[in-house]
Symmetry: C2
Subunit: 277 residues, 2 copies
Amino acid sequence: MERIEQHIAAGGRQEVWRHHATSLNCDMNVAVYLPPQAEDGPVPVIYFLSGLTCTEQNFITKAGAQAFAAQHGVAIVAPDTSPRGTNVADDPAYDMGQGAGFYLNATQAPWATHFQMYDYITNELPALIEAHFPVSNARSIMGHSMGGHGALVIALRNPGRYKAVSAFSPIVAPSQVPWGEKAFTGYLGPDRSAWAAYDATALLADATERLPVLIDQGSADDFLESQLKPDVFVAEAERHSHPVTLRMQPGYDHSYYFISSFIGDHIAHHAAALKGA
Amino acid sequence: MERIEQHIAAGGRQEVWRHHATSLNCDMNVAVYLPPQAEDGPVPVIYFLSGLTCTEQNFITKAGAQAFAAQHGVAIVAPDTSPRGTNVADDPAYDMGQGAGFYLNATQAPWATHFQMYDYITNELPALIEAHFPVSNARSIMGHSMGGHGALVIALRNPGRYKAVSAFSPIVAPSQVPWGEKAFTGYLGPDRSAWAAYDATALLADATERLPVLIDQGSADDFLESQLKPDVFVAEAERHSHPVTLRMQPGYDHSYYFISSFIGDHIAHHAAALKGA
């Protein structure tokens, strides 16, 4: 691993590392924030998954998370949103290919060679982080938009692995909205039976763990009605007695101004679960 | 004025406006954050001046200032750092021309036509802001790097106009460092006697108001020894009994990670002065 950025922030260290990801068959950047408490011993880790078009930079420069991570003594790992590189398949659209990995394992050409983000985020990255940084194996996961979809899917499919899960403006039912239908058709093929494994709403029926889900959603989000549809998830969760708190935040949009306004609540929620662990 | 961006942030409104600036002879963007308290009546205003290469976007997306502005009930105005446009003179270097206005009134060709940032920030912009937004005439000013230079110069030259002044990593003695020597030679000409009006250290001797100056400076800032030299300012301030607090922050660099780590302190300092006014 090569450290390519290092800054002091809120008394801790905001770093960006570059490493070869075996599961993705390419080099990847990953941002790691270590709070001051990490100087004295292992700290829990929150994974933050970003949305369409983002890299590892958006969250660390715009969310204002470091002050809260320092306050609660938690690390935050923010990976990139897809494999990258000139040898990696891409698409000119913003919602397919590089910057749009959708946190799944692609099965279709030309994507399957590199687009294995589910394996990367779920297995390879935590192993790497826990081997190289002063962190414990207490993990939680959150994300925004496409990354909220990733966080919910990964938490629901891996009972016992995460102590908390939350999302800002998540794509909760990708099989039912244009972003998800396009991406899943491309990455997984037209057979919809393969899609359910990456659809948080569809996964609720078989969830064996009742990990509470916290969702914040802006009421003025341009994508609310067309792509996000949190009510679909809430209704299905109620059917399966899965605890969900959906907070509709009046006037907020899909931007990092929304995330920065509520990231403190999310980190506090995660820290309480991680430390009670 | 045309509003080109609007987001809810920390319960208030982060907006970006576009307007024709008479003093600069071009259209300009300016960011305005209005805290929730502005719904109920005029609030004080902090002006934030950004550094080299920045636009009005850097501070509003990266500093995390909105939560503190909302907490204290102050507006924040973040202008661009120079005139802009295809008809505006420019230079390929990052430290001259567009993005590098140095908050002065240029006297030399080809710059003098548009590069009148001192007049814009000191006169035109406050008049515009006070005419169009729910703000009082209680003003303060802060900035980063080149913008810290601007904030110190403008506060020192306009006694009674600002209730507080502070800076992150400011260029305190531009006449004595490469960034300032290059810019002042280009904008003001080689006669150094014209430079003193835009040099905070040189202005201390004739300052008629003892407005306390708060400076935060990272000890690991790559520009500390070559361009910033806060000790030069502190020594001259001591000679003139001008109150300065210089806080050397160990390990911090020149980035927005530094600003976001201490912006809460600066806004609290300004708010106390603005509300005591």
